[in-house]
């Protein structure tokens, strides 16, 4: 059975201290309902993707479902770190395919500014394997920095290449009103920014943000009844890799991304060359370069060439992160996967405004959880 997206909504990402999580969730949920033409009684289940450790409210789905007014329909939380809402989408698709529910809402949400800086720093020190790695003070940027260092050694990638990714995504973000940063930056600014975890600097890192995004999905027949323009999930891939980076054979590739993308391409019956655009998980600039390679957009080791030649700009051969990516949008951990999916659907519908990639036919999203412990790759098309 084909599964289609029939409604989308995307809230503003950024520092939204004055809003509760449920208020953040309400905006894209309402927009997705309006977009689909459905009423909330049509939604049989609401599956929420979020990383619970950032919220003061425990068991967040309870308060969100109440605020959305979807009781007594089923709801629960799915967690896969930065890929939580992709995991939620994955679960939702299984419900649709099984026939258990005919219409399901997927809601990615996160409020990261509820925590104080010391609380954030405490969380940051526990992103890796806490038994063998965190005891030496690893951090999230630190892990990707170790990846970056190895990629530089193996393939000649430079700090300039990484900076180019930041410049591109910030330029793209200018045209995204939902982005946290809508401001161009220059290469020198990235290269001159303060070190975080060498070789990564402040502008190699995405920003913590608050935000939410929502998708409403349905099976083929139902989707056609609801919408004249359903966008189909043509290929879905999901995979995992060791939590401990000590157990990763190579430090220049995310193995779960390679596996998930293989599954997605196979199911969609296409290859990387058929893609019109890709939304990739650029939590750090090096992550986008590695994603080019893991997704087959570039040969292994040649990811830096893609950005150097400008091919991943909106007008290039292989536009990547035309909505600004995590880099410019900000990264509300649990909302990021849903945000990528919403952009992919907008692009396929031809509704992306200034960001629209001409004639977009196939859009891929690549959402990585943690340092690749989880990866979800989805391909959308008409």
């Amino acid at each position: 059975m084909k599964v289609g997206v029939v409604g989308i909504g995307h809230g503003k990402f950024g520092r939204r201290e004055d809003n509760t999580v449920q208020e953040l969730a309400f905006e894209p949920f309402r927009d997705a309902l309006e977009d689909s033409g459905l009423s909330k009684d049509d939604i049989k289940a609401t599956i929420i993707g979020s990383s619970p450790e950032y919220h003061k409210q425990r068991s967040i789905s309870g308060v969100v479902a109440e605020y959305l007014g979807v009781n007594p329909q089923m709801t629960f939380l799915v967690e896969a770190a930065c890929a939580s809402s992709s995991a939620a989408l994955h679960s939702a698709v299984a419900y649709i395919k099984s026939g258990m529910y005919d219409v399901v809402a997927v809601l990615g949400l996160q409020k990261m500014t509820e925590l104080t800086t010391p609380e954030i720093l405490a969380l940051m020190g526990r992103v890796g394997d806490v038994q063998w790695e965190s005891v030496f003070g690893t951090t999230f940027p630190g892990y990707y920095a170790m990846y970056a260092r190895r990629h530089m050694y193996d393939y000649g990638t430079t700090e300039e290449h990484m900076a180019m990714v930041a410049v591109k995504n910030h330029l793209h973000g200018v045209d995204n009103p939902n982005a946290m940063f809508q401001k161009e930056i220059v290469l020198e600014k990235v290269l001159g920014s303060r070190p975080v975890a060498s070789p990564l600097k402040l502008y190699d890192c995405c920003g913590n943000a608050d935000g939410a995004a929502c998708l409403i999905i349905a099976g083929e027949e139902k989707a056609k009844k609801i919408s004249d323009t359903p966008v189909w999930l043509k290929g879905m891939g999901a995979a995992s890799a060791s939590m401990s980076v000590l157990r990763r054979e190579k430090l220049n590739t995310i193995p779960s991304a390679v596996e998930a993308s293989k599954q997605a391409y196979k199911q969609a019956g296409i290859g990387p060359k058929d893609l019109s655009l890709a939304e990739v998980h650029d939590c750090f600039t090096i992550a986008e370069i590695i994603a080019y390679e893991d997704l087959g957009l570039a040969k292994k080791g040649e990811g830096s060439k893609l950005i150097e030649e400008g091919q991943t700009y909106k007008d290039g051969d292989m536009p990547v992160n035309v909505d600004g990516g995590l880099k410019a949008k900000g990264h509300p951990v649990g909302a990021t996967g849903a945000s990528m999916a919403v952009e992919a659907v907008k692009q396929i519908r031809g509704e992306a405004g200034k960001r629209q990639v001409d004639g977009a036919e196939y859009a891929l999203m690549h959402n990585v959880g943690g340092i690749g412990q989880y990866c979800f790759v989805n391909i959308f098309s008409r």
Binding site: G125, W132, G137, R149, R150, S198
Partner: protein, 132 residues
């Protein structure tokens, strides 16, 4: 004694590891059923699912797989920044993270041979000190 600057979880089923460390040795486990070596040590074999393990002392030498210098440290490490974390592949397999010692980041490169030294730290801790 415990490993690293701070601990987040108890030493678990493989706590004998710490006894080896106090004795100046780095040890891993090896599955007595299928022979799979495990480093860092595991109490349970994910290859054959056996929990029948023996300890094997490892050579404290290896080469640098990758490294980074942390400038913004997490809670408990604020006073240690900047520190350089090295990932080292031990001779004979298995990897560990440790802190670069008696050298600067500029002095090292991927693939470089290093030794792992057990350094007492803040009274009751042991650090893997990575030296050239």
């Amino acid at each position: 004694m415990e490993l690293g600057k701070i601990s987040f979880v108890p030493p678990s089923k493989i706590k004998e590891y710490l006894t080896y460390l106090e004795d100046g040795k780095i040890a891993g486990t090896k599955c007595k059923n299928c022979g799979t070596p495990h480093f860092p040590p595991r109490a349970d074999c994910d290859n054959c699912m056996s929990d029948d393990m023996e300890w094997t002392v490892r050579d404290p030498k290896g080469e640098i797989v990758t490294y980074t210098t942390i400038h913004i440290g997490p809670t408990g490490f604020e006073d240690a920044v900047p520190y350089t974390i090295c990932m080292v592949e031990l001779e004979g397999g298995g990897r560990l993270l440790g802190w670069l010692d008696e050298a600067k980041e500029e002095d090292i490169t991927v693939g470089q041979d290093v030794s792992i030294n057990l350094k007492e730290f803040e009274g009751d801790r042991i650090i893997y000190a990575v030296r050239l």
